[in-house]
Symmetry: C2
Subunit: 531 residues, 2 copies
């Protein structure tokens, strides 16, 4: 009835809007209804997972005395110029419509450095979660998007050796522990150690960078492939063999012992300085209870463009995707703080993206890098060349990948009937006000209002004459655990029926006691779900 009325009202409006479309150059049918290439909408269930994952991460950052800042989605083009090397071609520029030339931010690190420099900040511990933009060839099913979230935590300031660095590792530990995505390991290396090593074993200084980018591929390519690449780059065979030898070294503090007593490395001050630094880092991580999660890994490179000290990368190792019958696909983008890690993701690799689908089940123990970072002491100085230096260290979480894995786990829990899990619901609604027979609009609204005022999350049907069955089905399909049924007779007696959707049990409650009764039912349901 109302709908017909609404339609009648809008006839003229429809015509007006139709005219407007006709007068524009684009006809209403001439384009496909879609989001831009490499972007996507997030639906309500995905948003709930996002909210929960962001909540865990923010709680961790706040526990560590971090502040948060926000920067614009676009920056002056010059701010980004010269910061990303070859990757600059992937920057989105805005059309020159007069005025300043602007670009969409490519990461959160350069805007952070701009913020620190611009505000002459000498020390700050900040986090920022925001979308960044890369005009890369998208690979949606492999998790590479053109618009994706980054989630960064950085500590800027002139601080004691390894103190801020150790806290960043602790941050990675806490976030991955609290997200509960299975076991993980944090690989650690030192950029200056790699420089010292290369220098010592005969890599010419001008080939440090290119050697590093070959080594960087070792987590996905075989040594044989990397070896050939290094030989093609003109390194001597004995140097290449030594690279092969050292980049296989990985482990705990014993690695440091071994390297300190390595006669080949005995004469390099750089190497021994960095080894002492790494030992300090391990000591601090020991004090913070995370040393068992660390693995010194000399094959970790993370590029050379940017970092000046410790570098690290966290990998999920306990994440087994063994149920190949589920036709799920986890789409996730790699944590990309750096141009160099960008290059990585261009390489096809089963390990790189966790996929669970009908015909391409992920291998058991599939590994995904979900966080990475390191020390970068010179970026802020690029914006303030004549000022005091502001050294920085930070970590960036591969939030799209963490979200994708969390979504998949939530779907899996829902599929196995684990009702204690609420992540798969799109809302948190606790109760629906249901009318047992026709109409009762004002009483419906009045009861809803009483519940809202009692801070109870309450739904009601917007239909004038909703069917009882439809209302109950709405509860079931959206996971609302309780319903309050009202009818004329109950209203006159000042009572309502409180119904548990899953058990279908109903009991009469006086209206004044309703909020308390709902709370106790919810409490009981939560208790039952936990058992």
């Amino acid at each position: 009835m109302q709908n017909r009325r609404n339609e009648a009202y809008s006839e003229q409006q429809v015509q007006e809007l139709g005219k407007r479309i006709a007068s524009s150059e684009i006809s209403e049918q001439s384009f496909v209804l879609k989001t831009p290439k490499g972007t996507r909408d997030r639906n309500p269930v995905q948003m709930r997972v996002l909210e929960q994952v962001f909540g865990v991460i923010q709680d961790c950052f706040k526990r560590h005395d971090a502040v948060s800042i926000e920067t614009p989605v676009f920056e002056l083009k010059e701010v980004l110029t010269g910061k990303y090397g070859e990757e600059s071609k992937l920057i989105y520029n805005l059309e020159d419509q007069g005025g300043e030339l602007l670009s969409l931010r490519y990461d959160l690190t350069v805007p952070f450095a701009r913020y620190v420099a611009m505000n002459k900040i000498m020390s700050i511990k900040r986090y920022q979660i925001g979308k960044v933009y890369r005009r890369d060839q998208p690979a949606i099913n492999r998790g590479r998007f053109r618009e994706f979230y980054q989630c960064d935590f950085d500590i800027a300031g002139n601080y004691g050796l390894m103190l801020a660095d150790a806290e960043c590792l602790r941050i990675i530990y806490e976030v991955l522990r609290d997200l509960n995505l299975g076991d993980f390991v944090i690989k650690v290396n030192h950029r200056r150690f790699l420089d010292g090593l290369f220098s010592t074993i005969g890599v010419p200084p001008e080939k440090f960078t290119t050697t590093c980018s070959s080594v960087d591929k070792l987590d996905k390519a075989t040594w044989e492939d990397v070896k050939q690449e290094l030989l093609q780059k003109g390194l001597l065979p004995e140097t290449v063999d030594l690279i092969g030898h050292y980049t296989q070294i990985a482990g705990g503090a014993e690695v440091l012992d071994k390297l300190e007593t390595d006669p080949r490395l005995a004469n390099s001050t750089d190497i021994h300085d960095t080894l002492r630094e790494m030992r300090t880092l391990l000591d601090y991580c020991q004090a913070m209870g995370i040393v068992s999660k660390l693995k010194l890994d000399l094959s970790l490179a993370r590029g050379l463009d940017y970092y000046t000290g410790v570098i690290y990368e966290a990998v999920l190792i306990g994440f087994n995707c063994d149920d190949k019958r589920q036709s799920e696909k986890v789409v996730a983008s790699a944590p990309e703080r750096l141009p160099s890690s960008k290059k990585k993701s261009k390489k096809k690799s089963k390990q790189e993206v966790i996929e669970v689908e009908e015909d391409f089940g992920a291998t058991e123990g599939a590994v995904g890098s979900v966080a990475g970072g390191g020390r970068y002491d010179n970026l802020v100085a690029l914006f303030t060349p004549n000022s005091l230096k502001v050294p920085c260290v930070g970590v960036s979480f591969g939030i799209e990948r963490l979200l994708a894995i969390s979504e998949m786990l939530a779907r899996r829990r829902a599929a196995t009937g684990d009702t204690s899990d609420s992540t798969i619901r799109a809302t948190e609604t606790e109760v629906m006000v249901i009318v047992a027979h026709k109409g009762l609009i004002a009483p419906r609204l009045q009861l809803a209002q009483e519940l809202w005022d009692a801070k109870i999350k309450t739904a009601f049907s917007h239909k004038a004459q909703p069917k009882l069955l439809d209302q109950l089905q709405y509860c079931e399909s959206t996971g609302i655990p309780l319903a309050v049924l009202i009818g004329e007779a109950e209203l006159q007696r000042g009572v309502v029926k409180l119904r548990c959707i899953s058990t279908r049990k109903e009991r009469e409650v006086t209206r004044v006691d309703l909020p308390a009764a709902i709370r106790s039912e919810l409490e009981a349901l939560r208790g039952g779900a936990q058992q």
Copy 2:
């Protein structure tokens, strides 16, 4: 000591980066370090206020069974084409770098309609908070930005007359009540009523839109100005007089009585239909306990481009900026859902933006529109002309203005020494681990770890040898209420000193009891602050 080392390490890196800059066309000194015109960073304190305001608003949306979605920051250019009339020139386009033509979103409503159409959704109640972009002439101190937040709540679906509309008004009520920014009123009108009225009193149909946009100025301009404008637009003097007569009408249900019995309007079916609709709306608002906040106001127009039914706008009335000595400035952008409201904000007006500064104190009882919306039943159909219609009604909060007012109130509370207010702090940190004498790095980290694991928000100094006074001052300046002091002697005895920063009282606590002791101190401080 460590700093010098860090510097030494980065020499080569600095040179490399310097070279990169030199090789680019832009020299490092050639641009001013700033954010793009019309944009800004948000600092940590502003972010805390934002988080709290968003929290209140999201709580309200969730209490009402709403889901949330997210859409990309840019859309295909065609999606936005033909939706904003003259305002289209304010859309930011991305540079054509090959591939699709893209534009930054101008509001959240058109992307929402695109989402509903694309996913063939027949009903949804969703909220979305996100930034939108308008290449308008910015007026930062009057609160007009080129990048600003919108916060939208919309109900789409074929529903009973006025049921969803009434819930939108309830949403406005709850948000403004819970944000605690003083008294407010929600002005309500009906777009079809205005059409019927104009038709009846002799406005030619082709002049409805332009008449409406003149009427729309009545909240800022005098009637005399609007009258002259209407006469210039060619309306007959007696018609203009009648517009003046009717647009002065405002009030509660008695307005409907008056209009229903108005002999001049007796023959218009449209008018009497809409008056019955308005009465239904008032009935529902009565049931939801908000009718006292509503004011039927026939001068409310909100443009005609878009809306098809009820329209509304909320105004803060209790917001007095009477302390002119405070050199504060509240920058806030008007809630802009519509091109038409955009036009409004071009007009200079004291009422439009709340400003409190040395030489331009806001008048007492300054009024600011902080939310607006209405029914728009035809927008989704623009994307799916051959499908069933999906009627919509929604509200958009003037979130930048709400943030600016909240920031100002927080600063004011802080200035008056109201320590119970925590909004002005940049962090939520509860305790700082402080070393009483040199070093003690590992013990410091170990204690911090114990507190983090106990979910206590804990800071520590990253300096190797921090001074006691510096650490205490850090607590005071950042508002950390408690400190845990450790020294060699205490460590050996398994105790620490727990210090209240404000009272300077210290007591010894055994290490194992520390988390509980901290919690009880925090509880006591909160209790004291509330008294």
